[in-house]
């Protein structure tokens, strides 16, 4: 055979063993599939197609790395494009990682050359086989960001490794963010033909987000909740900017911190019995705070006048009412989520998705306003009213499944009603079958006429039993929605659990560095909090830092700024502060101190990227930003 190919039959077997061994305990990650057996060629390669959410990759790879080290082989190296500028560097990286493993095993002094290392490894392989398992353990190299690698380095590395696959099996894992065709763009055929490639797709980031949403937000376990605006901000950042689930979770954590930090009543935001306990021992100050909550005030207004007086004067009474309200809030949440899921499962299959494709959209519109007053809800109900029987039954079955997991009394009640409806629908099916059997009899002209007439009259007058039942079911669902999916804002004491300051969140998470620099330069008081810096807009205070003065002056100029004119304007502002006497001799003159301060301010402006020197005109600088005055 005139080929350099090497078969890998033995290790393939090994891999399938491994898979069966650890396939059971890591269902959460889809990484288990990563090590499906693949035989035949020299090196084995796995692409991981990951999507562009870069911050999430690090986590995925860390867990993959740990998993591989635990279950497959201790020789796992993960390399980053930044660390591998040349093939030499990459080899060194690889060796420095591997060295620590091999010295444990063979206690040989290793030189800094991969070739030596690999040769030595093969020399000591009998020893290794004694020490470790009987199989040759593969060396796994993870390329975290495949696109960013220098393709020449990668090619050389693969060629070198392919020479040693007989002695030391290699497995490469490429993390690819764009599409699998990237490999054909980076590697020529002579190199890619050395690889035996399998492609794995990670979960798409929107699916990933949906699962995070289900576990963290659409869950009555956690007392901390987000208001609709906050959810919109977080989801907006995710969809518009980064596609990163990790950043989303960080945003969630941040809003939690912010909530517990800024809202003193968040002591009540905990599990039910703890919340009731702490409601009993509320301080006087906190009771007063409760009285000032908008939702509590709304609640007070609905009470009898006598009760109102008691609520406003008696602290103990407030605590008692507060406990009652907290209980109500908890039951509200417990009933809210199952009904929300039911409604979603009913409407998610409708054409054009009137209530949104994802459950998060439905959730946002539910906690924002009365859902049943919206046009979308009306159109969704109309669509539900013309659902075919089998579709309706299937949808109701899935609803019943959802309700089975909910364990409140009311939900069990609802479930029973639903099952009752299901039973009636099925009974109807039997009846309609018998009807259809009758229709198969021979018809003569007279009978046909009669039945047609009958149908005509039926259409105008009465619906068939299925249609009656269907409208009953839809009315039942409508009543459920009206009862349980009330907006959270109308619940008394909702401020305790719901974090709602979306403005703060947007400011913190979606930063605009340029705007804040401009704000600092135009309104130095905003950051420095010095009383003397308070000025009217449009005027230039000489008490401001030099940089602010220079910045404000430069806003009045065109594309090219004459440095001398600028300096003179600066000196005028400065001297205006020193003495009001503008007619004196010194006005307009400047000393070297002012000159130096001006030059320093200009160079700071250049550093911040507002101006740059230009070759078009001597002693001019070019402006780089526009507007923002």
């Amino acid at each position: 055979k005139n080929l350099k190919c090497v078969g890998f039959e033995g290790t393939g077997q090994y891999y399938s063993n491994l898979k069966s061994r650890y396939g059971n305990n890591i269902d959460t990650c889809n990484i288990a599939q990563l090590l499906a057996p693949s035989i035949i060629d020299l090196s084995k390669t796995f692409y991981c197609h990951l999507g562009v959410n870069v911050p999430d990759h690090a986590m995925t790879f860390r867990s993959l790395c740990n998993l591989l080290q635990d279950s497959v082989t201790p020789f796992v190296v993960s390399v980053h494009a930044k660390e591998c500028a040349g093939v030499c560097k990459q080899n060194e990286m690889l060796i420095s990682y591997l060295k620590s493993f091999f010295t444990l095993v063979c206690q040989a002094t290793l030189t800094i050359r991969i070739i030596d290392l690999l040769q030595k490894c093969t020399q000591v392989s009998p020893k290794r086989k004694e020490n470790l398992a009987k199989n040759d353990l593969p060396v796994v190299v993870i390329f975290k960001d495949f696109e960013a690698f220098n393709s020449q380095v990668l090619q050389d590395f693969i060629l070198i490794c392919s020479r040693y696959t007989q002695e030391l099996p290699f497995v490469f894992i490429f993390g690819i963010a764009t599409s699998p065709s990237a490999i054909q763009h980076r590697l020529p055929h002579s190199v890619s033909s050395l690889l035996c490639i399998e492609v794995f797709h990670s979960l798409s980031c929107t699916q990933h987000l949906a699962s995070v949403f289900d576990k963290l937000i659409l869950n009555s376990q956690f007392p901390f909740k987000l208001s609709s605006r906050v959810i919109q901000v977080l989801v907006g950042i995710f969809l518009y900017h980064d596609f990163s689930v990790q950043n989303f979770v960080k945003g969630l954590q941040f809003s939690m911190l912010e909530h517990f930090n800024s809202q003193p009543l968040s002591v009540l935001c905990c599990q039910k019995h703890e919340a009731l306990l702490s409601a009993k021992i509320l301080s006087k100050q906190n009771v007063e705070r409760i009285r000032h909550l908008p939702s509590f005030m709304r609640y007070v207004e609905t009470q009898e006048p006598q009760e109102q007086v008691r609520l406003l004067t008696n602290d103990e009474h407030v605590k008692e009412v507060c406990q009652k309200l907290l209980k109500n809030l908890h039951t509200y949440h417990k009933n809210y989520y199952p009904i929300l899921q039911c409604l979603h499962s009913l409407t998610s299959s409708l054409p054009k998705f009137p209530l949104g494709k994802h459950i998060r959209e439905l959730h946002v519109s539910c906690i924002e306003k009365n859902l049943w007053e919206t046009e979308e809800y009306d159109s969704a109900l109309q669509l539900l009213r013309i659902l075919a029987k089998d579709e309706l039954v299937a949808a109701l079955r899935s609803c019943a499944e959802i309700l089975k997991s909910a364990n409140t009394k009311r939900m069990q009640n609802v479930l029973q009603q639903l099952e009752d409806f299901l039973g009636r629908l099925e009974a109807l099916q039997g009846k309609s079958d018998s009807v259809s059997k009758m229709e198969y009899q021979r018809t003569d002209l007279f009978q046909l006429q009669k039945t047609l007439l009958e149908k005509e009259s039926r259409r105008t007058k009465r619906m068939n039993p299925f249609e009656v039942l269907r409208s009953q079911v839809i009315d039942f669902i409508d009543s459920l929605v009206r009862e349980y999916l009330t907006p959270a804002e109308f619940q008394p004491l909702n401020e305790v659990c719901y974090y709602s300051s979306s403005g703060v969140l947007r400011q913190r998470l979606n930063v605009t560095p340029r705007t804040s620099i401009q704000a600092a330069l135009t309104h130095p008081f905003y950051y420095l909090k010095n009383e003397s810096l308070k000025t009217n807009t449009g005027t230039i205070s000489s008490a401001a830092p030099d940089l602010c003065i220079v910045y404000k002056l430069h806003l009045e100029c065109g594309r090219l700024i004459n440095l001398y004119d600028w300096l003179e304007a600066y000196v005028t502002v400065m001297s205006a502060a020193e003495d009001q006497d503008t007619n004196s001799e010194e006005c307009g003159k400047f000393d070297s101190l002012k000159h130096a301060r001006f030059i320093q301010a200009v160079s700071e402006m250049e550093f911040l990227g507002f101006v740059k020197s230009t070759k078009q005109k001597t002693d001019h600088v070019a402006r780089l930003t526009w507007g923002g005055c």
Binding site: K1, N2, L3, K4, C5, A36, P37, S38, I39, I40, D41, G51, V52, V54, G86, V87, C88, R113, I114, I115, D145, E147, A148, D156, L159, I160, R163, A177, T178, S179, P180, S181, A182, Q184, H189, S190, S192, S193, L195, C196, I197, E198, V199, S204, C205, I237, L239, Y240, H241, D242, F243, N510, V511, T512, P513, R514, T515, G609, K612, L624
Partner: protein, 450 residues
Amino acid sequence: MALIKCPGYPEDTLRSLAERLPCRETQLATLLALMGQPDQYSYPSVFIYGHRATGKSHVVLSIMKDLELPHASVDCVECVSSGLLFHQVLSAFFGPDAAALLPRCPSLSDFVRLYKQMSSNSPATQTRYIILDRAERMRDMDFSLLPALLRLQELVNDNVTVILLSEIVWEKFRPNTGCFEPLLFHFPDYSKAELVQILSWDHHPSYTPELYASYINILLGVFFSVCRDLRELRHLAVLNFSKFCEPLEKGEAKESDIHKLWKNIEPHLQRAMQTVYLREVSSVQWEQQFFFSPLPVVLSAHAHIELPYYSKFLLIAAYLASFNPARTDRRFFLKSHGKIRKTNFLKKHEKTSNHLLGPKPFPLDRLMAIFYSVVDSRVAPTASIFSQISSLVTLQLLSQVGHDDQLDSPKYKCSVSLDFILAISRCVCVCVRLYRYQYYKFLNDTQPYI
């Protein structure tokens, strides 16, 4: 098979060698004749060239191994510096202790000195061979290295021969200053008959060799016109053989029903044709594809990239900035652009298609300006917008022009195709066509004929 005779070597080994190297008997005989008897001086340097997978390294290395000749085989890809090359050669001939004597950054003269010293201690009884695989990499190394290696025999005064293996011809190697001309030796491509003979070697043990040979004939009938690479063909043969045998295992056909088997395998081979050379899937996935879907999905076909909403717009803006002349931005992106006279609108040098000229670099400011006018809603210039640009660069959808560390006014180029942009703009509901200069030019050109 003509028996290869070469005095000085055991005949049994030669015979088994010839059997193991089918279709390379002439090359084998010539090489052995060149090498002469083990103790004779051989030609100082031999240059062997031929296409990929024509058996160059395999033939040479099998000769070396089977005849147990002293040799050092070095892959030039590994040798990032010439020091590594010297190290490997010395340790192969004189043991690792000799190689350890090399100084830290060995020069060519160090190597020659050390080699001489060592060979005077243990003079060569047989010709020593240095085999340099992928010799084209030597051109990137020290310029004096190649000429020196070519006349190494003279320099070290020892019975040593350097064999260079390469895929490209000697003319591309020759240094300007001239050098000792090595003996050129070509390995020709395999003919179709030879390919059949070689591929039939790895027949499946549970089937007769005749069946496998007929399978190979069918395979070559389909693929020979597009692919003559032995390695690729072998990969394809392994990949599709199980499909070929399916009717046999089900008992629907006998081994003699070649026509029936051909009917069965032909559509699959046609489909495999689409992915030839691509190596997108392993054999396991390939089989699974057949198993689950009657029509295998070509993976590169759904090359769909998930991008955040604004990244898509940034990419569209980058594309427009790259392929529209900056002069026409006013026309496309300003609400009140006014009439533009037709004669001035087109300049002569712009008549050639922009796509033939490739993308043009554009500054960041222009990208942002187009971006703001393409996006409908107001977008704050947040940090994440700018970080999206840099992540587009790491994904190599945009490429940065000039230095990487340029901070003020960096320039970019868009490196994706029109189809890709059209697919993206369909997702975000932007009609790119309206903004494309090329489209207007097309309208302009065709108008006189309508």
